[in-house]
Symmetry: C2
């Protein structure tokens, strides 16, 4: 069916309903699939991605041409682009997911009651997961692979920019499913890049168990506002690094530069540097090191004054800067009046993603780790470590900033729920 | 301020915002409270409830008079009524919650990475919980106590019918908090019984982390549709008991009667009895035992025929009966064509709450336990055991029928989230 033929909203509604039904049926099969069968599908999908390299590159060239015509920024075009090494990374990623232990059917706890009832809590898949994401087409492979591993069916709704690339990647995943005797409809996507498809997904509470949005604040806010399906939220990463009074100067400088500049486009990149007034002697060397690494600086009046005195260009920060995720080589820098002021600033302005303190004072570190309200809190290391792979948890769909269900890195294990299994011998309740 | 003065929606909005801010501030204190301090508050609240018995009874008499004037059904009036034993049960319930282990600050997992980073997953409170419930005023004590134990602040929005009773119970809880040096604003309620307050709660995503609705389908559906705050859903309990071909006849009869008739108003009561055609010889004795216990029967045509032949009155079931939670001494009864037909009926009509099979065939039981999609699945016991206390988990807010976060009984432990604590010694990410 041509894309034109889908333009009628009635058709789309009917097709989305059919998609949901097929996903629900496939989820029932996936939930019962043996670990070896799911791993076989993942390995076959990896092979299919390698075999389709030329087709993926051709489809991606089409998407890139469309993106350039639409005037996408260089940063977005870079996210959209697939190269042979990036395609190989997708295939290797699926193989790595296959290697991890199966998260389904694990007995998480078990006990016996005085009346003889035996109770077990056993992990089960969530069911059908709707994933709504933006330009990077490799999310199709990563997210699809994690859903498959965890026994879930998924409806993958990528950005319209990556429509053609994602189509070929999805074909490879479906070939993997078929090769393992599993239903190809376990991984699907809407039939059109029409944004109306997102609206449908958010209302399909009968056939979708969880929506996972991955993208900018605009997408997440739309999903949170409209969705009738429970949402596992991945908000932006407005992360802070805080240089405490008792920070080791060398660590402070190395960690600040790494946390900001190693990669500026990831959600674990530090966006605001807080420097304790009692560590004021470090302001100039910190600004110098960051500037030398290519970072543009914005500061409060005192930071501007110290930077200027050191011969650096530091722009005045506006109120909006303390709430901005730059995802770029820009850093806002603020002096704070001690530990509790830093904690207060972070709890008010952070996005509850990843927050770090640099200090040699163990008590100050513990107070920070306990009182900062974030999915990941860190002492003497770089916020850039906020990553499922770096945590040893394997591939991830992203970092959850919500408190319900999963917080922090969301991998295959976090895509499961559980059920209670109660075994009796005729007990009636008195 | 008088209730009249609150009738302006602007005032209500301003008051709800203030309530949310106070709750957020109190949550930050509660999260750091020592276990002994929270337990002291619970014990002091229990004592205050006992001391206020006369005031609670007087307030409840006012609510009961209002309920009778509004024409509430006898069942609803029974739920609304407080008696000295019910008041004592509330106090004892708070003491039992104090006795349970503290669920906050537990290290749920910890490991070290090759680069020396030490990672721990540590339980933390959810933050601020909004609880929206219907007529039973004792929920104020149970839910408030569980939120306190788990270090959460709560906004408790009970039914308008129980407005006066809940006020006095909440006072007792707040006295307990104050006696332990904790902020009384950790447990609050909206200033008015106006239904508009619910609408405000569902939009307060800045100050409320989770909404837990407890009530009938109408309430839950409104909450799911309107809420911008994540919801932990407690749907109705449309539970089934399935008598398999290999069921022991005595167990089958005893369990069917217990599952339906022990208490008919609880969410774990069986609402539909499925009887395998191969156990057809048990239809008449099952119907006889249920009828003798005072149960009204509705059946498919064959069940009606067998019941009539046995001299019993069995009404024909309509399609709606298979989707109805009676919460009353009424049971729908259906013959099914084997195990998979039973599983299919349950997965289509059940509410994913609690489902039981009665059989001596272990393989059939395992297939049922694995394939039925419900928070609690049972073999050879009564669905009436679906209860946090019976599971040994202590008091519960209810049974979650959603798959996100908590499934099954929701006690203090299920009212927590976690954070990752990462301890380094200067590691930058390569």
């Amino acid at each position: 069916m041509s894309v034109e033929a889908l333009s009628h909203q009635d058709d789309l509604e009917r097709q989305m309903t059919a998609l949901g039904r097929a996903a629900r049926a496939a989820a029932a099969e996936l939930a019962l699939a043996a670990p070896a069968q799911k791993d076989k599908a993942l390995l076959a999908a990896a092979a299919a991605i390698r075999a389709k390299e030329a087709a993926i590159l051709a489809a991606n060239a089409q998407d890139m041409a469309g993106g350039r015509a639409k005037g996408l920024s260089p940063a977005l075009l870079d996210r959209l682009e697939l190269t042979p090494p990036r395609i190989e990374a997708m295939a290797a990623g699926l193989e790595a997911i296959a290697d991890f232990p199966d998260p389904v059917g694990k007995t998480l706890a078990e006990w016996e009651r005085p009346n003889g009832l035996r109770i077990a809590r056993v992990s089960v898949p969530l069911g059908v997961i709707g994933i709504i994401y933006e330009s990077r087409p490799n999310v199709t492979a990563d997210a699809g692979g994690l859903c498959l591993k965890s026994g879930n069916a998924a409806i993958l709704r990528g950005g319209s920019e990556s429509f053609h690339s994602s189509a070929v990647i999805l074909e490879a995943l479906q070939e993997g499913l078929s090769a393992a005797g599993l239903p190809a409809s376990a991984l699907q996507r809407p039939p059109t890049s029409d944004r109306a498809a997102v609206g449908h997904l958010l209302r399909m509470s009968d056939s979708i168990d969880v929506i996972i949005p991955r993208g900018g604040r605009g997408l997440i806010e739309r999903v949170m506002a409209e969705s009738r399906v429970p949402v596992m939220s991945h908000l932006d990463g407005l992360c802070h690094s805080y240089i405490h009074a008792a920070a080791d100067p060398e660590k402070a400088i190395a960690l600040a530069v790494n946390a900001k500049m190693r990669r500026t486009g990831i959600c674990g990149a530090t966006e605001t540097l807080l420097i304790d007034r009692a560590a004021g002697r470090l302001v100039a060397p910190l600004l110098q090191a960051l500037s030398a690494a290519g970072c543009a600086l914005r500061g409060d009046p005192e930071v501007v004054a110290q930077g200027t005195a050191a011969g650096l260009s530091v722009d005045p920060a506006t109120d909006a800067d303390w709430d901005t995720e730059y995802l770029a080589p820009i850093l806002s820098v603020k002096l704070v009046e001690g530990l509790d002021d830093a904690i207060d600033h972070i709890n008010r302005h952070g996005s509850h993603h990843t927050e770090a303190i640099v200090t040699e004072d163990a008590a100050a570190a513990e107070r920070f780790l306990q009182r900062v309200d974030a999915g990941i809190v860190m002492h003497n290391t770089s916020t850039q470590f906020a990553d499922g792979g770096e945590f040893g948890m394997g591939a991830e769909i992203g970092i959850s900033t919500g408190k319900l269900h999963a917080r922090g890195p969301v991998g295959a294990e976090q895509l499961t729920s559980y059920k209670y299994v109660v075994r009796g011998s005729g007990q009636a309740r008195p």
